[in-house]
């Protein structure tokens, strides 16, 4: 099926077994969330979702500057495990909330207990996706008490994430950072649907 008119995306051909799931609008400014998923994996405990998402508010001026500066480097692998984390920490700190909840990761947040990070970042890079610069992030959202990968994998509160963040309003002062993501409940589902998601990405037509 076609995903149509989702912010900066004019249309995109989704993997064939994906159908419309939950859709949400409002509540946080002008936010939206459009979910697509295979019907056989659409429960809260077993899912594979492609989500078009906008958090509802433009990024602050500081975040906009950092986000757009980072996009200018595309294409570039900014960091991936197990590379040295020195330089990427600074980049992530500058990007701050521009990355949404993924900003609260093990490289930016070393606190323990309730304030521990909920995201284990595995890679961040800039890409050109059908000529548009995007930031691509891969990692795992997890229960805050878990630190090690083998503990995180298989935990019922873990989800696998691959997200693309892009500037939907490059001609405006503050960036509307929109996102397209694949989110799955298990690594098997991630491995199963990531190739189809990647192929779908190539069918994107951006708004003029």
């Amino acid at each position: 099926m076609l995903l149509k008119q989702a912010g900066a995306i004019k249309e995109m051909l989704l993997p064939p077994d994906f159908a419309e799931g939950e859709k949400q609008f409002g509540g946080m400014g002008l936010n939206w969330s459009l979910t697509y998923q295979p019907k056989q994996f659409s429960s809260d405990t077993k899912f594979a979702r492609i989500i078009s998402y906008y958090r509802g508010l433009p990024a602050s001026q500081r975040e906009t500057t950092a986000f757009r500066t980072t996009l200018l480097t595309a294409p570039k692998v900014i960091w991936q495990e197990p590379s040295d984390t020195g330089a990427v920490r600074m980049t992530l700190q500058e990007l701050g909330d521009a990355l949404g909840p993924a900003a609260d990761n093990q490289l930016t947040n070393t606190l323990d207990g309730l304030q521990a990070p909920r995201f284990l970042i595995q890679s961040i890079e800039t890409k050109l996706l059908v000529r548009k610069p995007v930031i691509a992030i891969k990692g795992l959202f997890h229960f805050h008490e878990l630190k090690k990968l083998d503990e995180i994998l298989g935990h019922p509160q873990t989800s696998h994430y691959y997200g693309l963040l892009y500037d939907a309003t490059p001609d405006q002062e503050q960036a509307q950072i929109q996102e397209l993501m694949l989110s799955t409940s298990t690594k098997d589902l991630y491995d199963r649907y990531f190739p189809a998601f990647e192929r779908s990405l190539l069918t994107i037509r951006w708004q003029a």
Partner: protein
Amino acid sequence: MSTTQKELTNNNDKVESPRDGGERAGVKARIEAANEFQPADRSISANASPVSKGAFDMSPSDSTTAKYFGVQDKAGEQSANPGSDKSSDNKQDAGDKGLDKPGDKTLDKAADNYRETLIKSGLSPELAKEFTDKKIESLNKKAADGKLDGTPAEQLARSTESFEKILAGPGSERLENGQHDNLTKADRQNIVKDLAAREADPDKYVNQGQHMTCVLESGQKQKLEGSDPAKVSEQIASVVNKGYAEVQEKDGSTRRVNVDSRSFAPDSESRVPFDTSYHGDAGKRGMAGQVYDALSGQLAADLKSEREGKPSSAQGIDKAANVYMAAHADTMGALPGQTKTGEGLFERQPNGNMQFKADNPMLDVWGMAHLNKAMGGEPGAVFAHRDMLKDGHPPQGYPQDLKITTFGSAQELGQSLASFEAKTGQPAQILVNAPFLPGGGENGHGLHAMNARIDGSGNIKFDNNWGSNYDKGAMSMDQVDKATNPQRWEPKGSQRSETHPDKPDQAPQHRGGNRGSDSLPDEHTLIKPGSGRNPNETESEYAQRQALEKQELDKQNKNKQSNNDSGAQFQRALAEWEMRRATAERSGQSFNDRRPSEADFIVPN
């Protein structure tokens, strides 16, 4: 309840006539002090019911209530005579409306203490002065208008006392109700800084950040702009030191609200040291916002429990049938994620486990009005378009005296706002359909709570909960109507149906109005991100896609055993590609999309 109070309370329930402006301003403080707060019989033990009249488990350790009862609080900070906290009434009776006069030493002293406490919390002297000056200006204006409980000096003193208590903490690792204190000294300083900012400039600093707390934050803004802003700081001080706060309705009914103390631990926004640009201009939620959300969100959950006849947090947070977490909802089992906010409303199961229900407080417009009433808000403080409500009467289970101010047009809204503000000094809490705000794209439906007021020029201003930069400012009457009037909520691209021929007086619904998730929001629609079909499609596109999906589903069912329909899927994708290419060629546009290949659609089992 005395006859006098009953009359006044009943009158208050009819606030909303625009012709009824401001006659009872300042009366409510006298009602509370003179009629409601009788010296309590100390032998009375806590009532099992979460609601009681006035005397519900008012521990003398709560300094506010202790003052009424004339007892020493446990820290020995202050002893007061009954009613001394309401000395403003005497002043008002003397005709000066509680206004501290320029050069008033009492006010100067209170301002000095307030400012020094802010500096103690880590604010710069310049910012402490700025916040203090703004606060005094606001209090003086309210006092001059006769819309302040007590004098400005008394309001400042109460806030300062609360700030001191927040900074001092509970004195041990445990809160008074036995929960662990999850706040550090720096967190407490951030609460005071954020709270002072919110008191000084609610428009800029009362922000919900990336949270689904529009109802809770717009309610807080209303309280801070109302007649008793110090009450907010007292409730926050209580809940971060004791783990609970007493909240009181206007008729004196009091509830104890216990809050899960994990809700107070800073999240990724509130852990950022207080910053005027981050927690102000950028619209992020600071520490005081998070704590107040935790309190009012739990109260909303308790009201739900009450309506369901189940235990509330008054019996203990571990007994509450519904629990709201303002942050760290993963501690109760919610999934963290890129589209999550860290909040959670949970329902206790028969086995004691908590089940995640939603990442918002799950309030509809009546729930919002019930919360306002329970928090001691003005009757009719919640505004909604008349067509949002069925008949204007609260549904079963809600207090039947709940009042929502309704309006049928932007002009009528303007009149009601003027009347409400003249009477209370407060903006309204108003329900809008966010996608139909200017710039909202008119896509789908999603109810959102904002604050609204009318300015001297007759412009209606909508105040969002993300700093003044994100406010809608003055909107035209047409824009106001579009954002609030369900008759105007036609998703872009869909076709408006005609009025039903058999029911010419019935409001027309957009097509699919009865098609489950397509329904227009009404009084039972939760104030949260709304659902709906893809609003960017035209009606024919939607029908076409539905047919395709049905075909696909049928096919999948037929081939369930073999799971061998990838060829057909490829054929369909190819057909779609061909269709798009033909469309592009017809319109003379270039078409560079990659042709799908069969290999694209092989999904490994």
